[in-house]
Symmetry: C2
Subunit: 140 residues, 2 copies
């Protein structure tokens, strides 16, 4: 699906992505990461081959949730949930992390702060369905 502009704004503004993958025993595994947009995909970069990547290779169904710094009319926190399918691309992690560091840490920040970072992995999530509380649904 194409993300509505209201959902793209949440991600561009530097909300943190709670990335839920399916662990080997079928339970939800969660990490919090920087996220960016690349076309209609949501992208996350990882320098090292983490458990979440092994999970995605086994089952690519992931869920991303993002808090929004606003309450709705009932006093409930707005938030965005993106259900999607992930694929892992090798390489490009350091460049993507540098780009995201400018959003999450500041325009001058060098990240990762190490010589010769590993090529790493970029996880691309294609959105399929949205939920949460926000302008993209009736609860917002």
């Amino acid at each position: 699906m194409e993300l509505p502009e209201s959902a793209k704004e949440v991600i561009r503004a530097g909300a943190y992505a709670h990335l839920a993958t399916i662990d080997i025993d079928g339970s939800p595994q969660v990490t919090v990461a920087w996220a960016g947009l690349d076309g209609e995909d949501i992208v996350i970069a990882t320098l090292f081959d983490q458990r979440k990547l092994a999970n995605i290779r086994r089952d690519p169904r992931v869920t991303l949730s993002f808090e929004i710094d606003e309450l709705n009319e009932w006093g409930l926190r707005k938030y965005l949930v993106v259900y999607g399918t992930a694929r892992i691309v090798e390489g490009g992690a350091a460049e993507k992390l540098q780009e995201l560091a400018h959003v999450y840490l500041g325009p001058e920040v060098v990240f990762p702060a190490m010589p010769d970072p590993p090529a790493g992995f970029v996880t691309r999530v294609t959105p399929e369905r949205l939920s949460g509380i926000g302008p993209w649904n009736a609860r917002g």
Copy 2:
């Protein structure tokens, strides 16, 4: 397990819980909710019988993630992940929501703002394992 004081503080301070349950097709279903402590359990209150409750009745394995308003030495956001087992208790939701509203919305707030709210459901999560970035592990 007994939660370390550092993890309890995150919950008491009013961080939002991203609650991941296992959907009927095995994929992660996520909602964001208020959470509180009751002894060693983490509790979430729900006025209506939502999809997450149906998921928990089918498979009680849940994951809760909470953002912390601090960065670690690498500039990464601290966060708490609690892996646990949930059980649903009928009734008591309005009282629990009122208690949590004082943390999340303010000491004077009346919630839910409706006459005769339904008895609802309280979900109690017994923590089994922690992850994330914080003083309860080496990455914090």
